[in-house]
Amino acid sequence: MELVEAIILSVLSASTPLLIAATGELVTERSGVLNLGVEGMMIVGAACGFAGAWLTGSIFIGALFGIIAGMLMSLIFALMALGLAVNQVATGLALTIFGIGLSGLIGAGFVGERIAPAIHLYIPGLTDIPLIGRVLFGQDAFVYFSIALIIAVWWFLYRTRAGLILRACGDNHVSAHALGYPVLRIRTFAVMFGGACAGLAGAYLPLAYTPFFVPGMTAGRGWIALALVVFSSWRPGRLVVGAYLFGAVTILQLHAQGWGVGIPSQFMSALPYLATIIVLVLLSRARTGGSTAPAALGTVFVPDR
């Protein structure tokens, strides 16, 4: 049973950065903006998060640095894609390339440095319960925060007026504008929220996952987060399931190899992406699915003044 507990613990920590980054991108896309720069914002968040924690000795301030860095990156995107109405796909890709370079520059002085990792919660009694104790009461703060975050986002999108307006911007920006809502301002906030989440998700890697910094350490997790949003068909509930599924596949395939299960490891590594494609196919076949992509996703909106 100890092994099961160990696997669940690994799955939770592997899924957390995906869940946080994808939650941010979900909100961004729900407002009608496609920001493909998640990987770039994440990696800058990783560099700045580590820098912050290393300089101050505080994981919390490190996380804050990561969030701010992600938001600043997303502001560049907002300025280009929303302010100047540049193509969103091109801007997002450029943001990633820029972010990879920038994080190398910021992080250059920190390569090989180490920090104390994020502390895991410990409640005497509760954390000691076999099997579920450490899983439920023994995680680092990021894990609990990611779950609170997605619940908050669900509540915001479906239970508040502001959430309704944000979704309206994503589905039909012309109508939202005609009703008098400041579409570009709302989208800018959504993009910044996405940036903050991506930055935090990036910071999770050097602060809690592997407590050191090396360039390129996000290793494509931003792209998986983007795929997750599609996988979830833009719904918070499915996003949680998707993130843990992706994490579980990653961890279980490692264990399967250790056990000597004869499935090619290359195939196992590709599983999350295959799952995304399958879900996409199923979504496009099931026309009655209700919410698929926000109707105005990725389209440029220039209000006539």
């Binding site: 100890e2 996952y209 350490m217």
Partner: protein, 358 residues
């Protein structure tokens, strides 16, 4: 106004060509790096070698490097860029640059190229690599001595001969100490993803391995081993600061002597295309200090290292038994020949796993 601007531009161009001409006296040597230089890892070790080169021959040469060059079309452009910038000797330092290097080499017969870890050569394209499996043999001895559970954990990058020969050399060595030793192998399918490497190390430890061996580039596995109170080996670079109580030793890539030798040959006009596959004896790599082990284990490691350098010990001494227990054909006299090791695509006896793709 426009005329004066044109004159200014012409003047600048002229100034540019003059400074280029004065620098042409020095031999220009270019390097293409796969990753950022950073402070450890594959690219960092090549950069250390470049620095050693500059220290040795700095008054006769001028070096340039391009870092973060991804394998594929980017590589070809970058190599060509170095050629156009006047570099006469170009080192391309990753396996994936092989075809790009060959393509550019064929286009520029007057420039000399050196490709690390590849097998495609040309009149102006040499290849070089190291016999890391010699180091893996030493690690296998240490691992078998230090393991309490009798289970070794091995994180592989890709199932290519370089990695497979490392696993086999480790196992052959470990079996001389403990015939029942087991190895669990996890393929990460990446050279570099700290998160995944850490997860692989966790999975191996959770499944009972108490020694972690890695053929991936980040210090993540070392850090996990350290956290969990297990032992591990570093890769490419010194990784002891990530596991002061965990690192047993580490294979250190030391390309410096080779780079100096090849640049000297270029300067003398004696550079010739060839293939260099050096080991511990020719200083193509080294072993980090043997730490966190008792003196008797350290002695076993040092003796093995000395014997390998003296040519008295060959990890792939025949008979080498395949997984089915039958000896592998022995082409190198009393040991497997270089070609068999360079193309190794089988596991030796005692490895209870299937090689991916077999």
């Amino acid at each position: 106004m426009r005329k004066s601007l044109l004159a200014l531009a012409a003047g600048l161009l002229l100034a540019g060509s003059i400074s280029a001409a004065s620098a042409a006296d020095k031999l220009k040597v270019g390097f293409i790096y796969l990753g950022p230089i950073g402070d450890l890892g594959w690219t960092y070790q090549h950069e250390l070698a470049r620095q050693a080169l500059v220290k040795e021959l700095g008054d006769k040469i001028e070096t340039t490097y391009l870092e973060n060059v991804s394998e594929g079309p980017d590589a070809e452009r970058s190599i060509e860029q170095l050629v156009r910038a006047g570099n006469k000797l170009i080192f391309t330092t990753s396996f994936g640059y092989m075809d790009s290097t060959l393509k550019v080499a064929k286009k520029y017969p007057n420039v000399h190229f050196e490709h690390a870890t590849g097998y495609k050569r040309n009149a102006n394209l040499s290849t070089y690599s190291a016999k890391w499996w010699q180091g893996r043999y030493i690690q296998g001895l240490i691992a078998a001595k230090m393991s309490k559970s009798g289970v070794l954990g091995y994180i592989g990058s890709f199932p290519i001969p370089e990695v497979v020969s490392g696993i086999n050399a480790t196992m052959i060595a470990a079996q001389t100490i403990n015939p029942n030793i087991k190895v669990k192998i996890i393929w990460a399918n990446t050279w570099f993803d700290p998160g995944k490497e850490a997860d692989a190390a966790k999975a191996l430890i959770d499944q009972g391995a108490d020694i972690i061996m890695q053929h991936t580039d980040s210090p993540a596995a070392m850090q996990i081993a350290s956290e969990r109170g297990k032992l591990a080996f570093g890769q490419d670079s010194e990784m002891i600061k990530f596991g002061p109580k965990a690192q047993l030793t580490s294979i250190l890539d030391t390309w410096g002597p080779y780079y100096i030798e090849r640049v000297k040959a270029e300067l003398d006009g004696t550079w010739k295309s060839g293939d260099t596959w050096g080991g511990l004896d020719s200083h193509m790599f080294a072993m980090a200090p043997y730490t966190n082990m008792p003196d008797d284990v350290k002695k076993i490691a040092e003796d093995a290292q000395a014997a390998i350098i003296a040519g008295k010990l060959n990890p792939f001494k025949c008979p080498v038994l395949g997984q089915d227990g039958k000896p592998i054909e022995c082409k190198g006299g009393d040991h497997l020949d270089d070609g068999q090791i360079l193309g190794m695509n089988f596991y030796v006896k005692g490895i209870d796993d299937k090689l991916p793709g077999k």
